[in-house]
């Protein structure tokens, strides 16, 4: 099993960092090959420029994008780990998707409409929020995030999102509660990838 963790948080001491490390550990224990794309650490350039379109059109993919596409091609399962900023992902991750999931790599248009080119790959999305779940739910703010990511983005590319787990209210809960979230994450991974 080849697992790629795409991770976007600016703080190396954050709960998102703990999620990323827990995933690396658990997946390694389970015998997966694991690669991490730490977008902030890599100082990834998330700005899709007009030049990029020209290059895509000429089938000349910029080197940094080609490198990310190679990682995605390699993986069976993509893990996305990120905080919620404005009922949405951080710009860093948004721009990774804008640039890397390009026309001709992640999807193409045919006479029958759009076709995902990453079929067979699975995604597990782990998203934290600062806002407690009851407030998000009362304003119906969870489902728009699931739809935009799981349907509008990943399914569009043919990727099957097998989990989109929210860990909510992270800054306003206790250390014990955060610890039990990490335990829950370990169980989630073990259940998804049972030892054979």
């Amino acid at each position: 099993m080849k697992s790629l963790i795409i991770y976007a948080h600016p703080n190396t001491k954050s709960f998102n960092a703990a999620i990323k490390e827990t995933l690396v550990n658990e997946l390694t224990i389970l015998g997966h090959e694991v690669r991490v794309r730490d977008l902030y650490e890599m100082d990834f350039n998330p700005i899709l420029h007009a030049d990029d379109f020209t290059q895509f059109f000429q089938n000349q993919i910029p080197e940094d994008i080609k490198n990310e596409q190679n990682h995605i091609e390699w993986a069976d399962t993509l893990f996305f780990v990120y905080p919620t900023w404005w009922i949405n992902m951080p710009a860093m991750l948004k721009g990774y998707i804008d640039r890397v999931f390009s026309n001709g790599f992640a999807f193409r248009y045919t006479e029958q409409g759009a076709e995902g080119l990453l079929k067979g790959k699975k995604a597990i999305v782990i998203q934290t929020t600062g806002t407690p779940e009851h407030i998000l739910s009362a304003s119906n703010l969870i489902s728009p995030m699931e739809i935009a990511m799981d349907i509008g983005t990943l399914a569009f590319c043919g990727i099957d999102t097998i989990e989109h787990r929210f860990f909510t209210g992270v800054p306003v809960i206790s250390n014990e509660e955060r610890q039990s979230m990490l335990e829950e994450l370990k169980h989630l991974v073990k259940n998804r990838f049972p030892a054979s």
Copy 2:
């Protein structure tokens, strides 16, 4: 009337550019003071770093952010003009919101919960899509974008979104249809700001 146009498209010949120019012209004719923030042209830095949080916390706002906050404070109406990329806005605009709509400027937390600090301001969101409307509607992809922007972002800051207009299928329609969209935009602006 003071109108601020926040615009994010990498191509100066795009339909989004035509929307931005139409807005500038119409608002100027109507006697508004108009300012444009062309995020690509400005080469705005959309990456919220850990340093930013530290500076926000110390009430030392980075110079580029402070400048944008001054423009927002100045305006009565904020116009957002952008294309849809992945059922979402471009990373460039997402990062503008991540960095500029900061805690203490756009909102604050009180014992009663979050409080928007930009009350009294209005927003008009003009968003294009490449995908035709019937495909977006069939997959229920319009409303998640409205909820994330109008409720999860702007209303959270106290801003009243008085229009969120989608111009859909832009690359697959005729020049005449695109022209009539710009005419519709002019009417929209005139109706919202009737001459006194």
